[in-house]
């Protein structure tokens, strides 16, 4: 499972956590989790104080831990979101107008210094991004395959739902295919440590993966049509409505975020 990458979440591992573990978050209704994701997105967009964002991030981290999910994996999975934060907020930490933390460094383009405001901005962007990343991962790792498929079918319009359902089903197959191709190349003495000298090998493996996908889709068409496919992949699962106490929590979280935005951010008097 670790052949491909250790800093991109493996959907098989995520699904294994959802199917084989049982924690407090596993018992929460999937619709409630979707509701909380929306509330968190809104919260990290409108909250404007580092302390508030850091508090929200700490709370989500605590939820992740209470759900019995592994922190060590999470650190590795932060690599890609952090890449965006560093590449955007990194330069902003230097360019943001404000009070320099230490003395300015003279450069041919002018003086350069990290400002307190730039540092705060970096912290805010990191907390905003990692809060939602942590919660969506926690939600994905505690929601069963059948429930995710059911919600995809309900939330997306046709034909996007059909495409998404097939994607979800075949992601696991395609990862296995790619992994097998990589293993086969490694067993024949291939070296993946350098890209440019192995570019044709990479192309062959990725091309074979695409080819395998297309040929699978051609076989799938025959099987779908043989079963009388009429534009609707039947879903056998069902996700019930959330219980009233969960619904109240979700509504309460939206009220709190919108209330904060209206009063504290946009300055509307009560």
């Amino acid at each position: 499972m670790t052949t491909l990458s250790n800093h991109v979440p493996d959907p098989r591992l995520i699904t294994a956590f959802a199917e084989h573990r049982d924690g407090p978050l596993h018992r929460i209704n999937p619709w409630t989790k979707v509701g909380f994701v929306g509330a968190l997105v809104l919260a990290v967009t409108v909250f404007d104080r580092l302390a508030l964002l850091a508090g929200l991030y700490a709370s989500v981290l605590a939820v992740y831990g209470v759900a019995g999910l592994p922190y060590r994996r999470l650190v590795g999975w932060y690599t890609l979101p952090l890449l965006f934060i560093i590449s955007v907020a990194g330069p902003l930490a230097f360019l943001e107008p404000g009070t320099p933390i230490v003395g300015a460094l003279s450069t041919p383009l002018g003086s350069l210094s990290v400002t307190w405001e730039g540092l705060v901005l970096f912290g805010e962007l990191a907390c905003r991004s990692l809060t939602v990343v942590t919660f969506t991962l926690a939600a994905s790792m505690t929601t069963r395959y059948a429930d995710v498929a059911y919600m995809l079918g309900r939330l997306l319009p046709r034909p996007i739902d059909q495409v998404a359902l097939l994607t979800y089903r075949f992601t696991f197959v395609m990862i296995e295919t790619l992994e097998n191709l990589v293993k086969a190349a490694l067993s024949r003495g291939a070296n993946f440590s350098e890209f440019w000298s192995n570019k044709r090998l990479y192309a062959r493996i990725l091309g074979m993966t695409m080819l395998s996908a297309i040929e699978q889709s051609e076989r799938l068409v025959k099987s779908m049509e043989a079963r009388g496919y009429d534009g609707d992949l039947t879903l056998y699962g069902d996700v019930s409505r959330p219980p009233i106490h969960e619904l109240l929590l979700v509504v309460g979280s939206y009220v709190a975020v919108i209330g904060y935005a209206v009063v504290a951010v946009y300055g509307v008097g009560l």
Binding site: T45, L206, S217
Partner: protein, 226 residues
């Protein structure tokens, strides 16, 4: 998809709403076109499994600059076309956001970027093939062009939106974002070259997949007739 996904909370609320609406508009137009043309089962299957392959390929670490990941959006555009390519971009973004890569609130913006990559790559490839370019330079150039347009669009989206909580003037923000766009353009070239080799490989085993079957027939020597 040789770009860094926009992170959650990086834009103010108005920008989040704006890009979501534009992204939804693009996808609605695509869905309308697809439905109007009467979507076939093979298109659904190709889009579904193509997105799964694109998502799976993202798992592979490419050892350049410490490790990069690719979705081969340019390749997806060339193989699936602009309409299915846009739908695949949306679905891959939804799944990526669910796994913590990209932002749930910025699926609209990220889809615009990726769909533009697929659409530009498709039309560039078609044009270059019609101009009688060979498969490798045509596909490598088309993918690089598509991915570069996506990188520039992403930079433009950041500059138009402004970064949430930053007091930096737009001109200075453009300088800051320039580095990010430059990095993405570098990755676009790498992914473009890789796409070129992949299309070349596919053209040798299944020329029909890249619409080169007719061209191959056309180019075959017809023999001496006189």
């Amino acid at each position: 998809m040789a770009h860094i996904h926009l992170g959650e909370g990086s834009f103010p609320l108005w920008a989040l709403v704006l890009w979501t609406l534009i992204g939804a508009g693009l996808i609605s137009a695509v869905v309308y076109r697809v439905r109007k043309g009467g979507i076939k089962t093979h298109q659904i299957a190709l889009a579904g499994i193509g997105a799964a392959a694109s998502f799976a390929i993202f798992q592979l670490n490419i050892p350049v600059w410490g490790g990069i990941h690719m979705n081969l959006t340019g390749l997806v555009g060339i193989l699936a076309g602009p309409l299915l390519g846009a739908l695949i971009a949306l679905v891959v973004n939804i799944f990526s956001a669910a796994l913590g890569h990209g932002a749930v609130g910025l699926i609209g913006a990220n889809t615009l970027v990726n769909a533009s990559e697929a659409i530009v790559a498709y039309y560039a490839f078609k044009t270059l093939i019609q101009l009688d370019w060979d498969t490798f330079p045509a596909s490598a150039s088309a993918a690089t062009l598509g991915l570069s347009s996506g990188a520039i669009l992403m930079g433009a989206i950041i500059v138009v939106s402004g970064v949430n909580g930053s007091a930096l003037p737009r001109a200075d923000l453009t300088v800051a974002v320039g580095g990010l766009v430059g990095l993405n353009l570098g990755v676009a070239v790498i992914e473009g070259v890789l796409t070129g080799f992949i299309v070349q490989f596919l053209a040798t085993v299944r020329p029909d997949l890249v619409d080169l079957a007719d061209r191959k027939d056309r180019e075959e020597p017809a023999g001496v007739t006189a």
